[in-house]
């Protein structure tokens, strides 16, 4: 090895050694580098499932009979459906479908059994919440093949047969954009709001301006709110942009009240901003703050039902998802815009967002240091 190469190698090793020392000192970054693959392995390996089973389904039976029970049993045995215990009226089932409490409604029309026995080929009506075509795809496929599978299996009635009529509610063509584009509002807000505010306090520390704020008579809550309020406006501008694109570019059918979505968006934006501020009070520098934000995005995007069916995840992942504001906001925005849900039907999703906001703000204010100690 020439003298020049040896010198180059020595300099290279000096830099490598320095990087290792710095990496060892910055434990949070090191933990992130190990933690992020673990989270990704856990979420992608165990939580995400694009073939969800045990989807909640309601039954509307006008006259209970051995035939309708046999068909329900057969459907339940496929593993795709978890039927509610009791039969509902058409209106009740429709409301549950709109509120997202059930994914399917199986309706046996009047005289279904009689027509079945007579060989008149009655139709089983299936209403599916098709806002997310991925969630219902396989389950509907199974339902569609049921008449074939059950043909000739009705004892004493070899000619008994029925058909399945499927109504894909809210998104009849099964267009993915209808589901994704409105939800993008929530995703964009989560990413930008958390990221922007996560560096808000650390930036003051890094630039040395925190010293001025701390010797001034400003209260912690004033600092927090002062940093949050401008971004609420920015959040609404982003939403306006997405809504315009949804309407004019992607032709998403907006069925519900845009005003209602905009009103319910305020606590969601505030919750994300509060989360960012909380990270900002915990991080020692802007780099750490951004890393913490990433730890928040990853589960938000994967566990909220934005990309993958929420009902396809195991219970632990659903609990985690329920704790995230994005999960509830997606239900609100999809419910109102695509399913024409009313305020009373989506208010139940507002409470978790408000609780999240309050908790994050309390942590932020408690962690905000009024001194340089």
């Amino acid at each position: 090895m020439s003298l020049r190469m040896r010198a180059g190698m020595r300099r290279l090793l000096a830099i490598v050694a320095k990087e290792f020392i710095q990496m060892r000192r910055d434990r949070l970054t090191f933990a992130m580098m190990i933690g992020i693959p673990i989270i990704q392995l856990t979420l992608f390996g165990f939580a995400i499932n694009t073939d969800p089973k045990h989807l909640p389904a309601a039954i509307v039976v006008h006259e209970s009979s051995a035939w309708s029970r046999a068909i329900i049993d057969a459907a339940a045995r496929t593993g795709y459906f978890d039927f509610l215990d009791r039969s509902l009226s058409h209106q009740q089932a429709d409301r549950l479908l709109r509120r997202g409490e059930v994914q399917f409604v199986l309706e046996f029309p009047e005289q279904f059994s009689r027509k079945l026995v007579r060989g008149e080929h009655p139709s089983l009506l299936v209403m599916a919440d098709a806002t997310d075509p991925v969630t219902i795809g396989n389950a509907l496929g199974v339902l569609a093949t049921m008449p074939e599978q059950l043909a000739g299996r009705f004892p004493g009635h070899p000619n008994a047969a029925f058909g399945v009529v499927i109504h894909r509610q809210y998104n009849p063509e099964g267009i993915t954009q209808y589901n994704i584009v409105p939800a993008l509002m929530g995703v964009i807000l989560t990413m930008t709001m958390v990221l922007v505010t996560s560096v808000a306090i650390t930036r003051e520390h890094e630039r040395g301006t925190m010293e001025y704020l701390l010797v001034s008579p400003v209260h912690p809550i004033e600092v927090m709110m002062g940093k949050l309020l401008p971004y609420i406006l920015v959040g609404y501008l982003q939403v306006a942009l997405v809504l315009l694109a949804a309407i004019f570019l992607f032709h998403v059918p907006i069925r519900g009240s845009i005003g209602l979505v905009l009103a319910l968006m305020l606590p969601f934006i505030a919750a994300n901003l509060a989360m960012g501020i909380t990270f900002s009070t915990m991080a020692r520098n802007q780099m750490q703050a951004m890393q913490m934000s990433f730890f928040f995005f990853l589960p938000s995007i994967l566990l909220s039902g934005f990309m993958f069916p929420f009902r396809g995840m195991p219970d632990w992942a659903q609990w985690l998802g329920e704790a995230l504001p994005l999960t509830h906001f997606l239900r609100i925005v999809r419910g109102v815009l695509l399913k024409q849900a009313q305020a009373t039907e989506v208010l139940v999703e507002l409470w978790p967002i408000l609780i999240f906001f309050l908790l994050a703000m309390v942590v932020a204010v408690v962690r905000y240091r009024r001194t340089l100690d």
Binding site: G208, T209, E211, Y212, L214, V215, P217, H219, R370, T371
Partner: protein
Amino acid sequence: MNAIEVVGLGKSFADQWVVRDLTLSIRRGEIFAFLGPNGSGKTTTMRMLSGLLTPDAGHGFCVGHDLVRERQALRERIGYVSQHFSLYEDLTVRENLDFVLRIHGKARRVREKSMDRFGLRLLADQLAGKLSGGWKQRLALACALVHRPDVLLLDEPTSGIDPEARRFFWRVIQEEASTGCTVMISTHYLDEVQQYCDRLAYLMHGRMLIIGTVHEVIETSGLAAVQILRAGFEVARKAEHQPGVEHVAQTTSGVLLTGPDLKSLQACAARIAPALPAEAVAPRLEEVFLHLARSDGRNAA
């Protein structure tokens, strides 16, 4: 009532005492200098007095407010200029002033007065980050004074700025002091201290070694000095390690010998430079502090 009154004040970081047992009273309207080498505890003390740090020992009052229990009230009545520019570099001069005015609930006309007083009008729309060091400090001082504080804490405000800016700085400080504002300033410039400050304290390893007027401090040190006029480097080299000579300094006038006994210094001057005139002069603060530091080191050992 004194503007600043602290008793037994102390602060530690990671079990290391940075300031120890500091007892100090500063009168209203006084310009008080805080001196000491880097790491001696000057900034930590300033930060405790401004409520930026919580003391781990002792107690104290600044403008009548307890340093720990009444921080909020204290913040309303102090002005603080830190060692590094702590205003917003991405705001203009005018925007920085407006921000500070709004925080203190002051009228817009205060900004106009302030810009005139500090000569900032022509730079009003310039980003603070683009200002030179001297102008940044002018802006920082202007912002620290908009709410007419009772106590002004200045942590090395004149470091790295040109003589003209320093002179302006001191003129403003003197004006403020004349209206009753108490000024506490940490600095390394001993000439400024001799020229402008009423009293000084010297800190070393977090302990206050001496306090008083410049004259008192020199008197207390018990040092004497002899200047060998027109003497050069050779004489200075010979003077080192001579009995009775504690410090040797080459100055523009010659060689300055400092030590505890005047007669020994005169004898030394006659011995090493018999052909050159020598005269007794007042010791400089620099040698006094070196002497104190050395004595402190010996005592600690």
